[in-house]
Amino acid sequence: MVEDVEMTSMVTIDNVTQSFALKDGGQYIALKDISLEIKEGEFVSLIGHSGCGKSTLLNLLAGLTLATKGGILMDGRQVTSPGPDRMVVFQNYSLLPWQTVRQNIDLAVTNVLRHLSSEERTELVYKQLRTVGLSAAADKFPRELSGGMKQRVAIARALAIQPRLLLLDEPFGALDALTRGNLQQQLMQICQEAGVTTVMVTHDVDEALLLSDRVVMLTNGPEAEIGQILNVHLPRPRQRLEVMEHPDYYQLRIELIGFLQQQRRTRQRRSAVAATMATSPSRTAKVVRLGYLPGLDVAPLAMAIDSQLFDPAVVQVVPESFADWRRLEERLVDGGLDMAITSATTPLQLNLGLGNQPGQKRTPWAAITPMTVSRNGNALCLARHLLDLGIEDRASLVEWIQARDKPFTIGIPQHHGIAELLLRHWLTAGGLNVEEHIAFTMLSPLTMVGALRTGAIDAFCAGRYRVAEAVEDRQGYVLATDLDIWSGHPEKVLTTSEAWAAANPEALVAICSGLMQAAARCDNSNQRDEMTRVLSQPQWLGTRSAIALTRQFKTGRGDASPELLRFNQFHVDRAHIPNRSEGTWFLTQFSRWGWCPFPTNRQELLALTYRPDICDHALAEAGFQALPAPRSTFALADGIPFNADEPIPYLKKQLQGSLPPMERAELPATSSQQPVLIPTA
């Protein structure tokens, strides 16, 4: 399937960034990291609010402007200049007023199709005029035509030169509703008959749905990105009215309008937050209280402090160690901490008001995450005696659990966290009814090994060094690591409040940048001894745990220890990016286990939570290249591919075909607590 797409892709927009120089010497980044494949014969619409760079993207496709970064390939060749194989129908028709309709089309035909004889050209011009039903107007000047007729002439001119790619820039924007409807229908028929690949910029939701195979939704500018891609599987040939009566139409329309509304609200929210926060560049370094739970995950923090990677002119980081997540989150929310390294799910939980205990609700709190601190690093550790029962893989474990009459108890550091999500997913994929057979117990990570020893829990899921301790003590053995479940999953992220981030942008970037530099060292195998030395300090892991790390990670099953080089991932493979696709997966899982309804305004929620823009600034500050978040689909243990653009079908599959409850998530108020009135543009 993927192969197939590669084969027939006619146009490739590869990682395109477009920026314009500003008068004050700065730069306006209109588009950022746009990647898109367009197949031969496909009709693609670009939709988004004004100023989102739709037309900029179209001009790039036309070759009228060149991308600042990245490039566009058509039929395998780079687009470097405009050409008649990529004909544009401009927004205001762009007919030459001093030429008649016929002359306008003839100018294009004569210049482009030079191999034709003059009779053939004349015939072609009249054929195109007949196609758009304007034969009678051939000798009229554009000023004598109505808007709709002018647009038809422009379309006839474009199609007359038989382009490979037809580019339409809001073709019907200036027309009245009736004319627009007729023209849309005509354009659809013409494009279908000609089989021409088309990209259309529009802001009309119904127009996009009627005409397109795919609708590409762009986020707000500046730095607009592809927010979501909607596949329109309505049958062709389409008729306006039939399309609107199709059962899927309503849902598609809601999806599109919802996206646009959420973009608008996100923009309003950002400007409201910016308006209330008077950011004063402080002369002295900002003191930042940063909370964490000891673990290998916080190695970048330890390294950054030890090597003084936080710019001392901007921030002074005061790390505060916590024994459990509940206490840490309380301090974060009540303002006792400025930021914290938390579970990857915590920012979304805070924004949704999803508590750490089953069924617990709390007031939504506006949290953001500017970077992922670590990926992977969890392992499922079972009590040693289970190994003697022959439980060596998921199948035998599931079989054994199903056979016994009391639930299997697993210790987890927090409810609703990433560890629980992964375990639930993995066990369910193994055929186990998690709700019936598993009891999840929240424990401080510090007490997990002890609880395993006393038999209070049958297993626990925790970070590498806790598990290493249990294995060292011959208390447990490793049944699975998260590499078996979701390799490269986000584990710990930096979390702070929306308000703090808005008020202290420099400090936040300095902290992220320091963590990133430290993370690069943590991933460097030459620095392992140094990392162990730093982590041996009592405020991080202490000598004993650190020594466990220096040994090869043992599974405790007697087999040769597998090479787990990438068990913890701090920096490589774009590890830092706060990825909205991953957030979307979390939301599906929250909903799958019934913790909260699936938010209909997920784009808005994700735009609030995930801040790749800050990540990019920090990467640049740290001297790393900012790479875009991968938009590709990923699959976990159950093998069902997850496409962040289509979470509902994914969720439906996991719920055996039933539709999850959906509801608009009430987003936390901006920190000022008073509504800021932003005039709608």
């Binding site: 036309a62 009228l64 405009p82 050409g83 008649p84 544009v88 762009s94 007023p97 001093w98 000047f141």
Partner: protein
């Protein structure tokens, strides 16, 4: 109230039907206002019949030979006003045509080439403000001959608006049309013929129209100072002659100068509309 008023006005209008024809309605206001001005002028001149002539005197004093025989020629500089105007027009046509040719060419070059534009812009801005007569001594020194000098003054006065407007016209070609040209990869010649010239024409004619007015201003002034023949010379000659009817002759000549200037302006405007107005 208002309806009654409107009604009474309508009734009054209908009483004199010929006043309602479109032509009558159009010339009513100018006829009334100009008539009043002339009457006032006549009134002011009444107390002193030997001093400044009133409009009636102007016409009676100049009727023969100036009004009745515009094309008489007694040899030398004693010619009818029509002939004098023709002499002036001849000079204007030569100077203005030169200015148009050179000006449009220079404007194209400056409009198309950013280096030239930025290089010459300060010079053009300075020279275009120089009054026509300031050029006369230089052109006399340069060309020695009164006739060529007058033509040069017209040329140098008329050229600036043509250059400036042509250059602006090229820079103001709408992006839409250039984009069309770029996408279609129009060849040079086609671009010139189909896009550049038609798009610039209105600006060029604006420049030409401003210039023709300036040229006519310049010729009258230049002829007053140094020329044999021409309407400017006639005015200055009449003044120097100091006869009884001199003042009337001067007034009549001024009237003719104004009318000719108006006709020239309208003529260029008409040509411009005809050429560049197609399709707009």
């Amino acid at each position: 109230m208002t309806t009654a008023l409107a009604k009474s006005r309508k009734q009054r209008r209908s009483r004199i039907p010929w006043l309602n024809t479109p032509l009558a309605r159009q010339i009513k206001a100018p006829v009334v206002c100009i008539g009043l001005t002339l009457a006032l002028w006549q009134l002011l001149c009444l107390p002193n019949p030997d001093g400044f002539p009133g409009p009636i005197q102007v016409i009676t004093q100049t009727w023969t030979p100036y009004i009745s025989q515009p094309f008489y020629d007694d040899g030398g500089t004693a010619k009818g006003l029509g002939l004098q105007i023709l002499i002036s027009l001849q000079r204007v046509v030569v100077g203005y045509s030169l200015a148009a040719i050179v000006g449009i060419a220079a404007g194209l070059a400056i409009g198309l080439n950013d280096f030239l534009r930025r290089g010459f812009d300060p010079l053009i801005q300075v020279l275009r403000t120089v009054p026509p007569l300031a050029w006369l001594p230089i052109s006399l020194l340069l060309l020695q001959q009164a006739d060529s000098a007058a033509i040069f003054v017209i040329f140098i006065t008329a050229i600036w608006p043509i250059i400036i407007n042509t250059a602006v016209g090229i820079r103001e070609i709408p992006q839409d049309y250039t984009n069309v040209a770029r996408v279609l990869r129009l060849r040079k010649r086609s671009y010139l013929r189909d896009i550049l010239l038609p798009a610039t024409a209105p600006y060029v004619f604006t420049g030409l129209r401003i210039s023709v007015g300036l040229a006519w201003l310049a010729i009258v002034a230049a002829e007053m100072l140094k020329a044999d023949g021409g309407i400017g010379f006639f005015i200055w000659d009449a003044y120097n002659a100091g006869g009884d009817t001199s003042t009337s002759q001067i007034i009549l000549a001024i009237f003719y100068v104004g009318v000719v200037g108006l006709i020239l302006d309208r003529l260029v405007g008409m040509v411009g509309d005809r050429i560049s107005g197609g399709g707009r």
